[in-house]
């Protein structure tokens, strides 16, 4: 006997993501899904962003890692609410993992929630978690070939942060190629060049975030 199904395989995840989104909207929280490879600077960007926005916005953070609490401890020191998710091996966050920790955050008191995904340039791009937009970081030490090697994340992201620009004199990296290839994959992607270490360029990113929240 043949049964016609016609269902999306990730429908269960998408339904929970939709529910998360509804809860975030009801609480008036704008949500960013922050993605990059390991070590590109997600937590450093968060620290710089919190420092720049803490006075004007109430920020909360969800940290996603396979194991450990180092990142949550770094954020906790800045005095903003933070929840650590340990995926126990999974290479990305999914909508259900987010749904399970929502009660641990004071959503009604928050304006902006940043969800730091597991460091991975592939799988996080494929799972909706209830975000308003996806933002990715590429550090220039990773090389200029990454947009064409990992195209999905560049296509899915609304903004690309090119980090560690302070290392430019020491690297044979073509930042123009990163920009051009990212724009070919996603003509509407917003690109920021900055260094979380020196703080150069961080202000433009923060100004853009403020326009999204206003």
């Amino acid at each position: 006997m043949k049964l016609s199904v016609a269902s999306k395989i990730l429908d269960a995840n998408d339904r929970i993501a939709h529910e998360n989104r509804r809860l975030f909207s009801a609480a008036g929280v704008f949500v960013i899904n922050l993605m990059s490879s390991p070590g590109a600077g997600k937590t450093s960007l968060l620290e710089a962003t919190i420092a720049g926005l803490k006075r004007s916005l109430n920020i909360g953070v969800i940290e996603g890692d396979i194991t450990g609490t180092d990142d949550a401890e770094r954020i906790n020191r800045l005095g903003v609410p933070v929840v650590q998710i340990n995926t126990g091996g999974a290479c990305h966050l999914d909508a259900n993992m987010i749904n399970e920790v929502l009660l641990d955050l004071p959503l009604d008191e928050m304006d902006l929630l940043v969800i730091e995904n597991v460091g991975n340039l592939v799988c996080p791009a494929e799972f909706k978690i209830g975000e308003d937009l996806k933002v990715m970081i590429l550090s220039i030490a990773e090389g200029h070939d990454k947009p064409l090697k990992y195209p999905l994340m560049f296509q899915e992201s609304s903004a690309l942060i090119i980090n560690k620009m302070d290392l430019r004199p020491f690297l044979d990296v073509d930042v123009g190629k990163i920009r051009n290839d990212a724009l070919s994959l996603n003509p509407s992607i917003k690109i920021f060049e900055l260094s979380c270490k020196t703080g150069e360029g961080v202000e433009q990113w923060i100004t853009w975030l403020q326009t999204l929240n206003s």
């Binding site: 043949k2 199904v5 395989i9 799988c123 799972f127 064409l148 070919s184």
Partner: protein
């Protein structure tokens, strides 16, 4: 590694659908996987074989239909299909004024059940 999540989801959908229709065994599952979905068919087969044990789909085969990336170019006003997984410009006129309308599918289409 997310092929495991995909295999797990598709098995759950198939088992639910089979039971809801009053049947007790799944013989085959047909899915459509877009070439730009990021899912590797080989890894999906592997995960499916590992996860199906002990379910009513333990004897089921998985049939994967690959869907090519297709889109429309506004510059040359033509529809296109490509063998590539990702498109950087219209393959016909090389304009960047294009939109993609298929190739990201992850759909379960049909079950054969007893």
């Amino acid at each position: 590694m997310h092929e495991v999540s995909v295999a797990d989801s598709l098995l759950k959908i198939a088992v639910d659908e089979c039971r809801r229709s009053g049947y007790g065994r799944i013989n085959s599952i047909r899915v459509c996987i877009g070439k730009a979905s990021g899912v590797m068919p080989e890894a999906l087969f592997f995960a499916f074989e590992a996860l199906k044990a002990g379910t009513i789909a333990s004897g089921a085969t998985l049939a994967i239909e690959k869907v090519p990336v297709a889109g429309h170019c506004s510059a040359c006003n033509a529809d296109f299909t490509t063998d590539e997984s990702f498109v950087l410009c219209c393959p016909l006129c090389h304009s960047s004024d294009y939109s993609i309308h298929s190739g990201r599918e992850l759909d379960i289409k049909e079950l054969e059940v007893d």
